[in-house]
Amino acid sequence: MKDTFRQFLLGLVMLSVGCGVAVASDSEWDLSGNTALQLRGFSQNALWPEQNSSDAEVSLSGEWEVRWRSEEGDQRASFIPFARWDENDDERTHMDLREGYWAYEGTAYEGSAYDGVDFEFLVGVNKVFWGVTESVHLVDIINQTDLVEDIDQEDKLGQPMVNLALQQDWGLLNIYLLPYFRERTFPGQDGRFRAPLPVDWDDAEYESGAEEKHMDLALRYSHYFGDVDVGVYYFRGTNREPRLEVSSNGQRLTPFYDQIDQLGVDVQYTKDAWLWKLETIVRDGYDESFMAAVGGFEYTFYQVYESNADIGFLMEYQYDDRSSKEPITIADNDLFVGGRWSLNDTQDTALLAGVVVDDETSETFFNIEAERRFGDSVVVELRVRAITNAEPDEPLYSFSQDDYIQLQISRFF
């Protein structure tokens, strides 16, 4: 909680900088957000004895977005707090500042060495996404995963940063200084989706003596050349993935965050109805350095059977040659096959279904996501997730009794 409090404080400072400038001038404000009710139903009893025995779980969440832009348009600020209450898991009841920054953009002075270069300077908490693939987000590294939100790892914690973006004819260069590390959230003792022992994530250990105050650094170049979009980056700092070690009393898992050097590349080739995608990383971390990659395609049939609907087929292969001493990954030799059905109707109805199969162990993960808007402001989402063929010595075994259906009703404003 101390962590979160500090985040909020930083965000408020950033926002008040914006407000201070804003008071007198004719600037733009925008308030929006959403509140959501989430219901989960589990098909089986929890696997581990201390987990909550209930097969249903109710939770509520809210996200509020305050945005500001100066009259001249060259300054902007954002303040986005998020909170969730969960009836079963105390760790899932949590708050975070997703965004809280102030940014200034302009063009470098005439006559300077950078004449004509457009830049943006941003200070505060922000979220940054990199990558092209669908089944796993391998190159995405700036933000820590908010794992209690969803096991798909697409929810992220706000990351404090100083970011300089330089847009030139030959591409976009981004420099990130990341002065404060965010620890990954993990389900508590009562929660689902956990290992036999719960992770004591407030008591993390670090390779760096500076611990969470280690200054991480990232440098990224991205651009497109005709039909090919490319991103390349170098990251040096605290690994977002922890190794989990059994604590001295044997009752808990302690996260251990190593220092890493990582190179990442993401490429997409867009031709006709084909999207060809590749993400790859090389990481020098705790053990020997290793590489990982995910690549595949997405092909879309537009307006199938003379309707307005599109059907897309997705296939990706996940490869990872990390040693067993590194943080565990499930995306090591897996094949992902999926389909996307978009109705392109007024309600933006869409369905995504996919399955990930491990080549070696045949562990299988099923995922269905459907959504539809009702009226102007209510969105209903349905998710079904299931795991089969997980043997006790395999990583997904811990979640093997956590198959669930989730219904979420969100109201946007």
């Binding site: 902007r76 537009y302 599109d310 102007d376």
Partner: protein
């Protein structure tokens, strides 16, 4: 005398290169010229005159409300901001950016397009929930734009050289006289065999377009209403009414005041800006 000889020799050399290169390109050139009937020439000229009446606007920005109506008359709406950067080169299309503000669940979603003439456009979609920029296929020309009766190509295919033309007739259109011109998409994957356009003979603006589907039957009718002139030069319709004649669904686009000369440049239309629009 000697100098003059050299001069004329040079001229001769230049002339022979010119005629040689003409020889090279002439079959293609001749084909297009010879095949053009007087109706095709006149049709193109009318479209070109209309297109050129808009030349030099530079950049523009406007808020737009889209009203979608189903056959039973039930309405849904969405609002967005349209910005356009004119590219003076006629062989390349304009750049445009659409930023959604409602429905609220898609607020911040943005679509960036770099239009081409006959090649597929370059398009990027920004998804604010993940803060993800995604290059998308622009093959989907005929698909509906955000669930409306407008297809993607109805927004991007206003460029002169995306069509061939054929003049049909002149007739009254409301209080004005109109040239009626057929146009045929030259680009691939269009949902239309042809379009018939009504272009007025006073201000050279398009007043109506009838769209014919792949079976050559009437699919949609688009009316351009509430034209207003900016800077004594540029005309903009502020109400576009698209009606699907086969399903009876319709979509209105209602534009607010246009702003011209906003000072936009190429760097406002790059994918790296999509995450910084709000």
């Amino acid at each position: 005398m000697k100098q003059r000889n050299i001069f004329s020799a040079t001229l001769l050399f230049v002339a022979s290169i010119a005629s040689f290169s003409q020889l090279l390109i002439s079959p293609a050139l001749a084909a297009t010229i010879e095949e053009k009937t007087p109706e095709e020439v006149k049709g193109f000229d009318i479209a070109a005159r209309s297109d050129r009446s808009d030349r030099g606007f530079g950049d523009s920005e406007a808020e737009m409300t889209m009203v979608l109506r189903n056959a039973a008359g039930q309405e849904a709406s969405r609002t967005m901001r349209f910005t356009t950067l004119e590219i003076p080169d006629e062989s390349v299309g304009d750049k445009s950016l659409v930023l959604f503000s409602t429905p609220r669940d898609i607020e911040g979603t943005a679509l960036l397009s770099h239009a081409k003439m006959l090649d597929p456009d370059d398009q990027w979609l920004y998804l604010p929930a993940l803060k993800r920029v995604k290059r998308i296929s622009s093959r989907n020309k005929s698909g509906p734009f955000v669930g409306s009766e407008f297809a993607f190509e109805d927004f991007t295919a206003s460029e002169l050289n995306k069509f061939t033309y054929k003049y049909l007739r002149e007739e009254a259109c409301g209080e004005l006289q109109c040239d009626v011109v057929e146009r045929f998409p030259r680009y691939e994957n269009s949902g239309y065999t042809k379009q018939i356009s009504w272009v007025d003979t006073t201000d050279y603006q398009i007043r109506k377009i009838a769209f014919y589907d792949r079976r050559d039957s009437l699919l949609k009718e688009l009316k351009f209403e509430d034209y207003r002139q900016y800077a004594d030069t540029y005309w903009r319709s502020h109400r576009l009414v698209m009606k699907n004649m086969q399903t009876n669904k319709s979509t209105d686009l209602v534009y607010g005041e246009y702003k011209f000369g906003v000072g936009l440049t190429d760097s406002d239309f790059v994918k790296g800006r999509l995450s910084r629009l709000r």
